[in-house]
Amino acid sequence: MNAIYILPYEKLDHFIGLVVKDFRLIGPTVKHQQIVYADIINAAQLPWGYVDNQDAGRYQLSKQEQPTVFGWVNGAQGIKPFLFKSIELLWQVERDSNGKLIFSPKQPKQEALAFFGIRPCDLRALLIQDKVFLDPNHTDAHYAAYRKNNFIIVANCTRSSNNCFCVAMQGYPKANADFDIALTEIEQGFTFEIGSEKALAYAKQLQLLPASQQQVTSAVEKIDAAAAAQTKKIDPINDPKKLMQRLDHPYWNEVAKQCLSCGNCTQVCPTCFCHDEVEQPSLDGNNSEHLREWGSCFTQNHSYIHGKTIRPDIKSRYKQWLTHKFSTWHDQYGTSGCVGCGRCITWCPTGIDTPYVIQQICKDDDHE
């Protein structure tokens, strides 16, 4: 078992200061009336006292009396935008006066990133994206550069939103591995679980005291309460992998009526990786930049081949997204593509409830 210390609130700013000396630190802040991960250099920038209220198609941030750091659950984005960026310049090409093409790769910036206060579901999502972009046969140079030397400070959840369903996805509001430090907010501060030698060095520098049994128990109880509070469930018998066997289920028509094909779910999903390659030529036509931008399987162009769109209608696009996320992702990566963060429900303008859709299609009723 990992060593667990106590980080009192008074030492939080000191801790952040130490990390900032070694890394570019990304942490939760309040921006545009929601939680946004951004560069931070001190504890004052954290969302002290903020609580989010999430429901299907609804997100509202409010401030409460008690100044906790992690009273909120999540915002529209986890840390995906720092590793798999929404726009990435891949290479440039110049055509010289003789018509020769000179291609130059865009070298990704090498910097060590530390993430403060990421949720256990977002950590699981990160490991899922690794399987896509760190595939040993085709490693993505940009993702790999940003992912290298990360220092990960998880914030275990002491609250679940109305849309959280990590437990239904075989997760839990607690990280068990793959972090440097796991914090759980309790009275007067945080339990500070050590996951690496570097984390231990910080604990020593900060002269942290070991957590008492009572403090450890308090943290576990808060996490368990968050797990127990999750209302969205997927009955284990309704295995989402069954979606691929139920491509003709009538409920696809129902959800297609509600879906606007806006692609919000794919933009907020911490594991969605689809992207478009885009060309940006200069006005004189001699230089051109080749970029990739986040794409979405909900767009018309996504499945276009000459003269034909494979998925011309909303039903087939929704089916593509859901079957990939919950069923064929297993075939491709040996894991579900969903971590149960609930963002697809919160940010859906018509409030489509993803676990509910799965239950409707996968439940054993008359349809087989």
């Binding site: 090409v93 060309e279 399987c297 499945s303 998925r311």
Partner: protein, 282 residues
Amino acid sequence: MNKPCNNPYLPQPAEVIERIDESATIFTLRLKFVDPNIHAAYSFQPGQFNMLYLHGVGEIAISIVSDPTDNTLYDHTIRVVGRVTKGFAQLKVGDQIGIRGPYGNHWPYQTIIGKDVLVITGGLGCAPVVAAINYFFQRRDQYGRIFIVQGVKHSNDLIYKDRFAAWAQHPNTQVLIAAGVTIKGWPWYKGTTVDLLPKLIQFNGAKTTALICGPEIMMYYAIKALIARGMSDESIYLSIERNMQCGIGHCGHCQLGPFFVCKDGPIFSYAKLKPLLMKEGF
């Protein structure tokens, strides 16, 4: 192929050495990498494709049609269908483009030695199989009977006429061509690709491997006919076309159920694709 800076997306410059106009809208670019070391190190297998880049416009996936054992030039047959291919059609000898690849898997050719081979193509569909056909004929004695079946919409669309004529000269080989719409003097059949299948002579489904490429509706009916004539799901191979932007399974556009066509395909056995072929939205 060299991948400088480990950037798998970076193309290599290549020059158009020769351009062959196959029909009004179809042309073949014969290409050579500018860097002789890259040209010499490059190799591919029949059925694989390259991502071809047109300066300032973008990339498209195009199968390699030249002979895999001859690395003088790497040939790509292209039909004008969209923005990038329209641009490619403007290229002249001496112009430069970018190439990265090869990508994807290849047709079975070593595992089917000794078997009869049936190649069925529709439209421009022949291009992805040309390299394989050439491979078979260069080792003619290693394979049994060879059938080549090609269908086009209009007789004017038929390309590679010389190649079909040359292939038909080989022993123990049957070449059948059909067009839906024909002009006067058309020496072949009028009809669809599938209409040609009953005309196969000395066809033994149990000892034949089929390589099929073209519209999925054609594949679907061809498969039905072949299964009825004793072929198994495992002995039928299909080349699948989907939107491809990265070629390495990252961009997601070519997803087909559990597969990414760019890296798990573009060649699939029918046994693998059976549950999804002609399935709406896949």
